[in-house]
Amino acid sequence: MTVAERCAVIGVGQTQHASCRADVSIAGLVREAVDRALLSAHTTMAEIDAIVIGKAPDMLEGVMMPELYLVDALAASGKPVFRVHTAGSVGGSTAIVAAQHVMSGVHKRVLTIGFEKQSDGNAMWALSVPLPFGMPVHAGAGGYFSPIIRSYIKRSGAPSHIGCMVAVKDRTNACLNPYAHLHEPDWTLEKAMESPMLWDPVRMVETCPSSDGAMALVLAAEDVADAHDGPKAWVHATAMRSEPTQFAGRNQVSPQASEDCAQDLWRKAGITSPIDEIDAVEMYVPFAWFEPMWLESLGFAPKDQGWRFVEDGVTEMTGKLPVNCSGGVLSTNPIGASGMLRFGEAAMQVMGIAGEHQIDSVRKAFGHAYGGGSQFFAMWVVGADKP
């Protein structure tokens, strides 16, 4: 039976995320994250064996396959450069593909990057280019997901303030994360409930921003990680699942692919009770109501009870299962990077380098990303001990 090589995150670096990074070129944005990751990993460009880059549709920047243009900036001449694109989950799936570069035994030190400089193009247009033969009714992702959220609210009987509770939590957490795009310290539940409805039932405060940003990780094989004199987060397990966009009877509130992916992950990681064994969660919540929905889908909370976790403060930084201490996608959303931000922030919690949004004694953390019409899922568990 083939056993994969062990792999650890030994370096993490991210940019100052913002709505528009006019101060840097695409290369400059990527290098800001990369330079910090290399520093964090106590390594140099020369020691990197392979580079795995992920980002979302190239229309967002107006550059086709920008990894080709980035070769000089990444000192990648003569190296393998690999480009992943799995829609919104791409940051996560890219980290997984990068981990596979190590776990396969092929590479020792892999640099992986997720980025988006979406202020360079027109993001709303790029995300919903009008195509013939259909009827354009969607106001972007919000218009697609809010009817699904409405279904969850009706089915679970959740009270209407839950979305706002998540939004206030994430935006408040983000104030402890210097890199986050939105720093809005004065949110209260009362103020949030007055936030305008954008796609009823989803309010403006419950909606993610559009950001420029990048995240970079350095992944290392076991011998390199053992020799590394800094903190590390061992990859315990990874999982990915996909399902079709549309078919009769599809459950979009808790897609089968999400449940299957999580079950596969817990099994591989040897986790039987996620709520008890995971110490910190970074999950992909672009619209606040996805927090209770994903808590259920992933197996942290029983069906129709995810919203109680929110209401009871379980997912606060002081709670039993802190979710999105970084502020999450709700506070920072460069699409190509967002998934890797989740995977990387989970690693940072294990490595003890999350600064002011650090949770004490994180032995195992969970990173999650999703994309498309809630159809692509990528997840990992990282831990302080070797798997």
Partner: protein
Amino acid sequence: MRDVAIIASAQAPNLVSTTATPVEMLMPVVDQALANAGIARSEVGFWCHGSCDYMTGQPFSFVSAVDALGAWPPIIESHVEADGAWALYEAWLKIQTGEVDTALVFGNGRSSSSDINRILTLQLDPYVVAPLWPDDRSIAAIQARACLEAGIITPQQMAMVAVRNHHHALTNPYALRKGDYTIDELLQGALVADPLREHDCPAHADGVTAVVIAAGDAARSISAARGSRPAWIRGIDHRIDTQNLGNRSITSLPSAELAAAKAGVGNDKVDVAELHAPYTHQEVLLVAALGLVDSPDSSTSINPSGGALCGNPMMSAGLARLAEAASRVADGSADRAVGHASSGPWMQQNLVCVLEGE
């Protein structure tokens, strides 16, 4: 390292253009590849594909491909914004980790959706090169001009490449351009991007290629049941060069040379080499970079399929070269073959795969 082999493949005939959607193009080819492998969808451990949003004119265009796969119950699937050859590489890596034993990979694209020569301009440096809008032919012509001036290549050599590929394409049911020509008649042709003539430029096409790979025992038992020979991947590597004209020689292909060395091309004889060289001068450069010999006495057959010159369905042309090389090993006409895929201006990125029969 686990032994992994290409055990089956399927291609769509290259078409100048088709009105089929990507899903309609893909379904029959995926079905055929599975049938050729003799396995059901449910037996595929991992699905991986390559395509390009800018080619399709739609963001997230790969998503509709997932709808062609009968992805229910949910599947393990991933996508690269690159030729399907890189999807094969990702699948090979995943099999090495032990997570899965089999994979189906594919590449698909419709070059006819738009002016592909202009689309490819968008691969260039967005600040100082792309805004000048040099199209793909012009970019390739710059390289051809540099090679001619350096005395590395002659127009006759370029025409010879075209003659050979068009002749080989006569026996390839998938190829788009084919025929028997002489060097002299080709050199009479008008220049389309000096020094390139029509015959020096690829026949852009709409197409799909699907390949099934499997590890060790799974590959052996599946192939035995079909009565065919697995094409074992003995070496696979890919490398990239800088795109910056000032920083690299375009009269050679450093990344192709390096990938070939890492993949171990030179370790033994090469019976067949399927090279993803869209332009004739690039085939000449590639043969040199891979350390192959292209002469009448050489035992290496270059592009018996007619290569990408005679049919270049972008995003699957590279994978098609790997499929063709594997087919030559499978049918016994080659014991050792090289499949190659490329990407980017001036053959910026190169993937080399060495395949052997048992």
